[in-house]
């Protein structure tokens, strides 16, 4: 059993989950000491998890692939998952990679490689859907890599810069 701490909209649950295998789409888990029975799409299918049935209650879901949010009938929920068995392997904080938050066109680059930047400082301006969006530094540090250039079109998640 893998023990996870799952926070949904500020409510914390401890979930114990067995290793999943591809042979079955049913699994029993323990949530805060109570057993729940779950049906789900086959493990290893092409789609991310988009529905489950928990103790006979069906849910249709859109789950962020970084597991920061999910949408259900009840609306949008904030999610945090911590692996209680993997505290050692867990990186201390987010990495310093700056990725394109939306696809678009880089209209201006406001920093150069080697610059020192403060967390929250605008790094570049990305134009998408008729709006100019500032992409800001996720942390304080030095720009070690800058691959963005004005006039360049970028796809979602494209690496723009790295800060160390």
């Amino acid at each position: 059993m893998n023990r996870l701490s799952v926070t949904i909209d500020g409510h914390v649950f401890t979930v114990e989950i067995p290793p999943l295998n591809r042979a079955t789409n049913e699994v029993s888990m323990i949530v805060d000491g109570q057993e729940v029975h779950v049906l789900m799409p086959e493990v290893g299918g092409p789609e991310p998890l988009d529905w489950i049935i928990v103790n006979g209650r069906p849910y249709e879901l859109v789950i962020d692939r970084d597991l920061h949010w999910m949408r259900a009938r009840s609306g949008l929920h904030q999610v945090e998952v911590r692996d209680l068995d993997a505290t050692v392997a867990r990186p201390a904080s987010g990495d310093g990679r700056v990725k394109a938050p939306i696809p678009g066109l880089i209209t201006r680059v406001l920093v150069a490689a080697g610059d020192h930047v403060e967390a929250g400082q605008p790094l570049l301006v990305l134009e998408a859907m008729k709006m100019e969006n500032e992409v800001r530094a996720p942390r304080t540090g030095t720009i070690t890599h800058l691959s963005a250039a004005a006039g360049q079109s970028v796809t979602l998640g494209a690496l723009l810069a790295e800060i160390e």
Partner: protein
Amino acid sequence: MFQKILIANRGEIAVRVIRTCRDMGIRTVALYDDSDLGSLHVRLADECVRLASGALYRDVATIVQIARDCGADAVHPGYGFLSEHAEFAHACEDAGITFIGPDSATLAAVRNKIGTLENVSAAGFAVPRHSARPYGESETAALMDAAETLGYPLVIKSYSGGRSHGTRLVREPEHLAPLAQHAHSAALTAFGDDRLYIEEAFLPGRYVEVQVLGDRHGALVHLGERDGSIQHNHRKIIEESPAPGLSDAQRDELCGQAVAIARLLGCHSVCTVEFVLDDQGRFVFTEVKARIQVEHPVTEMRTGIDLVREQIRLAAGEPLGRTQDDIILKGCAIQARINAEDPWNHYLPSPGRLRRFRFPGGPNVRVDTYAYGGCDIPVRYDPLLAKIVAWDVDRVACLGRLRRAIADFAISGVQTNLPLIQRILDDPDFAAGTYDSEFTRRQLLNTLASSGNLRDLAVAAALAYARRSADGNGALPERASSGWHRESRRLPQ
């Protein structure tokens, strides 16, 4: 009647117009640029013509030439782009092609928004105090002076267009210069004209508008009012009819004023007369929209009248064929605009490829969209993805139906404002109909989920996490290349 109509637009309104043309047995020609190749309007039309660049959707000479080349006898401009462009209407008239809308002289008259305010004021109707002329981008000092004279709060509006491009509410003097700067460039991008004018703002107020329908022979009727007070990021998001909370006397006065003003301005075809209802219960005329509007389905659901069909019929010179007594306004209709926007990122646009796009169904639920599962939502146009409208006999039932339909709408692949719409519809003030234009400035709470519900969602999150780990160990090469594999090694933060 027309044989072939060129639709000089894109997105959901192009689809909307094509559908009515099909119903009427009229052939259609769609326009598209590279980013719109996958849109539904291209697939549904009888013919389609490629534009060399997206800017050409509002290029007068190009569109008139295409209309000539394809043998269209009429052009439907939709909303935005060339819909209120008097020179375009005039160019169509010169080419012997019918512009589906008012004639170019009427368009030119109502497009002169300051002149219109003065005409309407001279006829004895209330209008907001406003600047005496529009200001270009280089006239910041003169704009500041005019604002000083007018006082705050005020609204900056684009001289040439609507659809909220260029419209900015200014509450404090220090915000004027930066907001005017944004409005200038937004108006220039959207309408090719950077001029702005300012008028007095009414806060709190309600934005109410009346749909009117008129023929070229002087017959004019109204189809009831709509309330569009709920806005987010300067754009209307929820519209409904009837406007909640008006007395019968107020409603009669509002619709009566609208018809009188439309007659005064020589409006025909499909037009909307817009008012602000101030906190004293006074209706103040603001402008006329001489085109089909985004929120027109609300009126269609209440009246059973296809407004695009009427627009085409009236443009062909047919008489209105109905009197005010023939117009029956039934029940309540509410529309929500679903935008591709990221709720976690200040509702900034979220373009991309739609993975799942499943409509809600059931009686009296309508979805207007250009999108379908697997299609791309282009970066270069506005984020309106779909409109959803529900109708029922009264507002309580209608709201229940729309809430259910919104919860049923399954969209993945791009982010949407569906959660915001859910919160608005669940808000007690919205449910009571006692909202005003300040509504979305306050905090909206998520009240839908019960604690048992949250526990089940925690199970889903745990499973998603475990499946991701299981996938990371699997031997699926596309995972590795999509970045999924790489990210699965990182724990969520």
